[in-house]
């Protein structure tokens, strides 16, 4: 049996938790500095931004216009029910809005942060009672509600999470497209400046209020009222990162787990199936798409990044794997920015208590990140 050619298998060592901690405390970027990395991150975020724009619009449309609709058959059409649009939809010439829904469900299921607390509060139940009373006039809902009293509240929680995610992605979409513009005009020219740009964007939007109201028969109702005091960063962005980056993301077809073989922890907080942990290589048989998101980003791939991919491995043949790897690099930058922006204390300080608190914060993050696909950070 001949020796397997070394060029067929590449291995990039993943950094240890200690190395990650040191980088975070030294304000260094997790992703190595290189021109290729800059192109990958900026361009993949640009395509992601364009996709998020579509996701965001659709999620907000669903939450506002398809609210408590028993059979939301046209929910992905954004209100355009022309034959041409339906035909394109059926031919799958469209964005995979299902991915956005899966992310929303991940947020709902893994519920952390202020949004989840509010959705479980008595204040929320009281607020939606008016909506339910109004909707009970619908014969189907009127029959279902007495039989399953938790049904409508759960649907409204789903709609609230959908709208909140739509609002979050609205901000992120604009931020990523602005990043591409900044890189094009030379303002952003390194990985460090990418992280700084994202951090600044997150900080600027941190206090944005998250509200959600619906109109039923010409009457306005609040689902997430301004009085709830929900804000962008703490109540939506952080739970989103927890749910989708860390705990679980629907990168369909990348890997499968066997719950009966104890491959899945019963403790949700121990889940590590998020975007930062996903294997870019799809597993199992031919025909399963590696990820709906990768397909969507492929449709919006900037020419520069496409040219880069054409010269690597199988050109278009494995482009979704390459997009996934670039996406993970970009998401490590976003996580890097989020961590940098949420340190308990300024890293330049000299107070031993504050330094210890920052170290503990960095170590906690490093422990979680070290289990991820950090092999992409060096190359």
């Amino acid at each position: 049996m001949p020796v397997i050619p070394s060029e067929l298998v590449r291995y990039s060592p993943a950094p240890s938790a200690l190395e990650i901690t040191n980088k975070l405390l030294a304000s260094e970027t997790l992703l190595a500095e290189s021109d290729v990395h800059l192109i990958e991150v900026v361009d993949v975020l640009k395509s992601y931004g364009e996709v998020l724009d579509a996701y965001s619009k659709n999620l907000i449309y669903q939450a506002e216009k398809q609210f408590l609709l028993p059979f939301p058959v046209f929910k992905f059409l954004d209100g355009d029910r022309s034959l041409a649009k339906i035909w394109r939809h059926l031919c799958h010439d469209r964005i995979n809005f299902e991915y956005a829904e899966y992310c929303m469900k991940a947020m709902l299921w893994h519920g952390t942060g202020g949004l989840d607390v509010y959705l479980d509060s008595a204040e929320f139940v009281k607020g939606i009672s008016l909506i339910i009373a109004k909707k009970k006039r619908d014969p189907l809902l009127g029959m279902l509600h007495p039989l399953f009293p938790q049904f409508l509240p759960e649907l409204i929680r789903t709609a609230a999470t959908t709208h909140a995610l739509g609002q979050f992605w609205r901000v992120m979409s604009d931020l990523f497209i602005d990043l591409a513009v900044a890189e094009a005009n030379g303002t952003v020219n390194s990985i460090a400046s990418v992280v700084e740009f994202i951090k600044a964007g997150l900080v600027a939007a941190a206090a944005n209020p998250i509200t959600y109201g619906v109109q039923i028969d010409g009457e306005n109702f609040w689902v997430l009222p301004p009085q709830a005091g929900l804000t962008f960063l703490v109540d939506v962005a952080v739970p989103y990162v927890e749910a989708v980056f860390l705990r679980g993301t629907p990168f369909l077809g990348t890997v499968s787990f066997n719950a009966q073989a104890q491959q899945i922890s019963p403790d949700q907080a121990q889940f590590a199936y998020g975007a930062l942990y996903a294997d870019p290589l799809p597993t199992m048989g031919a025909g399963i798409p590696p990820s709906l998101l990768m397909q969507d980003m492929y449709r919006h791939l900037p020419q520069r990044l496409n040219n880069l991919y054409q010269n690597r491995t199988r050109a278009d043949g494995d482009v979704r794997v390459k997009i996934c790897r670039s996406f993970q690099k970009a998401m490590f930058c976003v996580t890097n920015a989020a961590i940098a922006g949420t340190f308990p204390h300024g890293l330049a300080g000299s107070n031993p208590t504050e330094i210890a608190a920052d170290q503990a914060y960095a170590q906690a993050w490093a422990q979680r990140l070290a289990m991820g696909r950090t092999d992409c950070l060096a190359i």
């Binding site: 049996m1 001949p2 020796v3 397997i4 050619p5 060029e7 067929l8 298998v9 590449r10 291995y11 990039s12 993943a14 890997v255 294997d279 290589l281 799809p282 597993t283 199992m284 048989g285 031919a286 025909g287 399963i288 590696p290 491995t313 199988r314 043949g317 494995d318 979704r320 794997v321 696909r373 092999d375």
Partner: protein, 501 residues
């Protein structure tokens, strides 16, 4: 003259290579070889149209006196037993030439030897004279030995020498049987005429048939004479494996039916219960040995040992349905094993290994070999005898034709058929499912981070395999096409056996 032309096409082609300039690019030489083999295949197909399906005996016969004192006559003829094998040879030799790639060493000799093998195999199938058959039987030995010795793997000297010794012994035993027959009958007429043994005592018949059984048993190969085959396959290049499994093993089963069953039906009736058990042992041993293999190619090679056992079972039963099954099994095994060896060759070329403890996830749609994997799944399904493919029809006919005569041996062989599914599912599960990898799992944490970058398989590389896969399905869906060709001949052979039995 049609059969002479069939022989002349590859022979002239082989001689042509001797006169080609050595500086000619290997791709050009490959093109010339393919052209010659296309002509040969077309001529084989023409034979099919000239063949009368209603007749059971030899057709298109040619007879010229050659070395009369030795009883060696240039006698050719074709019937429903040999015609499918001639067509199979035409197809698979062409496939072998098409799938020859990256040949840098002595391409002139290589293609000349391929053509010479095709010539010899066709000669053996259409020879109507015992010595003439033996001449062709021995001629194919030397080119194949050279093909393994020169273009084989690291252990090629060992494998080719083993092949040479076993097959030479096979030839000696067959020659001994033919000469013994002439000596005992007092005739130097080696013409192929059925039931020439009426005047020979049963003991002598058993001895002569025993020589033929062992001689052809080595070639088939049957357990325990099989050990040369896995080594030869492992060391041979893909095209040579295609020829070896697809065509050359059939010389053994063909010889057994043509010379064993047709010439010694009395002795055949005596030995057939033992042959049926021998067949079952061969099937079970081949299947169990295949399960234990870690090398994909050795696994496919051992599957050949098992599957050729079905032909012996059918020959032992010698009912019309069983003999039809034997012909189907020869053709379907030729197509399926060639397909599997082609696909294993692609895997080896792309990954550098055939080790089932190393390969994983080759069905990966992005970076694996998904189309090759798809054809592999189709191939193993056909080999396991799933309905709708050639293997099913062959095994069904063999079992249906043998169950009443030898129920125990048939049931044991059916278990072997089930084991085929076991080892091929192991192969597919290990090499094609899971996360893509071509390295042993020493450290699972590192293993899941490996970035595997296999070169894609170009569509042209899979054309021969695709063609064979289509043939496997076509034969499975339209078995009447082959049955029509062989029905009269196998029916006549069965009558011969039934007459004396």
């Amino acid at each position: 003259m049609m059969l002479s032309v069939l022989l002349l096409i590859p022979l002239v082609g082989a001689l042509l290579f001797l006169f080609l300039p050595s500086k000619l690019a290997p791709t050009r030489m490959r093109g010339i070889a393919i052209a010659v083999l296309v002509v040969q295949l077309l001529w084989s197909i023409r034979l099919l149209f000239a063949f009368d399906l209603e007749q059971s005996g030899m057709q298109l016969q040619e007879s010229i006196s050659w070395v009369e004192k030795l009883g060696l006559r240039y006698e050719l003829g074709i019937d429903g037993l040999s015609l499918p094998l001639v067509l199979l040879n035409g197809v698979l030799t062409l496939v072998a030439a098409v799938c020859t790639r990256e040949l840098s060493e002595r391409p002139r000799l290589y293609f000349a030897l391929i053509l010479l093998i095709s010539f010899a195999v066709n000669g053996a199938f259409v020879a109507n004279n015992l010595l003439f058959f033996l001449l062709f039987y021995e001629i194919e030995l030397i080119p194949l030995w050279l093909l393994i010795l020169i273009w084989g793997g690291a252990q090629r000297v060992y494998a080719s020498t083993k092949f040479l010794l076993f097959t030479a012994l096979s030839g000696v035993l067959i020659l001994a049987a033919f000469l013994g027959l002439a000596f005992i009958s007092g005739s130097v007429d080696f013409s192929l005429s059925p039931v020439v043994t009426e005047s020979i005592g049963m003991g002598t018949q058993l001895l002569l048939l025993g020589c033929l059984l062992v001689g052809f048993g080595i070639k088939i190969p049957l357990v325990p004479f099989h050990s040369w085959l896995p080594d030869a396959h492992t060391q041979a290049s893909t095209p040579v494996s295609v020829l070896l499994a697809g065509v050359l093993l059939k010389l053994g089963t063909y010889g057994l039916l043509r010379f064993g069953l047709c010439m010694f039906p009395d002795a055949w009736a005596v030995l057939s219960p033992a042959m049926a058990i021998w067949a079952a042992i061969s099937v079970l041993y081949g299947s169990l040995a295949a399960i234990a293999q870690k090398d994909m190619k050795r696994m496919v090679a051992f599957s050949s040992v098992g599957h050729m056992g079905y032909v012996l079972l059918a020959a032992a039963a010698a009912t019309p349905v069983a003999l039809m099954g034997a012909v189907f099994q020869m053709v379907s095994h030729g197509l399926i094993s060639a397909l599997l060896f082609l696909l294993v060759g692609i895997v080896y070329r792309k990954t550098g290994t055939r080790d089932l403890e190393v390969l994983r996830g080759l069905l990966n749609p992005e970076r694996g070999l998904p189309f090759t994997g798809t054809l592999m799944i189709l191939g193993v399904m056909a080999s396991a005898g799933l309905p709708g493919m050639a293997g099913f029809m062959a095994e069904f006919l063999v079992f249906r034709g043998s169950i009443q005569t030898y129920p125990l041996a048939t049931l044991l062989s059916m278990v072997g058929s089930g084991l085929t599914a076991v080892y091929f599912l192991l192969l597919v599960n290990r090499a094609f499912f899971g996360r893509l990898a071509i390295t042993p799992i020493d450290n699972p944490d590192v293993h899941k981070l490996l970035d595997v970058q296999l070169a894609p398989v170009a569509p042209r590389e899979t054309i021969p395999a695709l063609a064979l896969a289509i043939a496997v399905i076509s034969l499975g869906l339209l078995p009447a096409s082959l049955a029509g060709v062989s029905d009269a001949a196998t029916g006549s052979m069965a009558q011969l056996f039934a007459g004396v039995g």
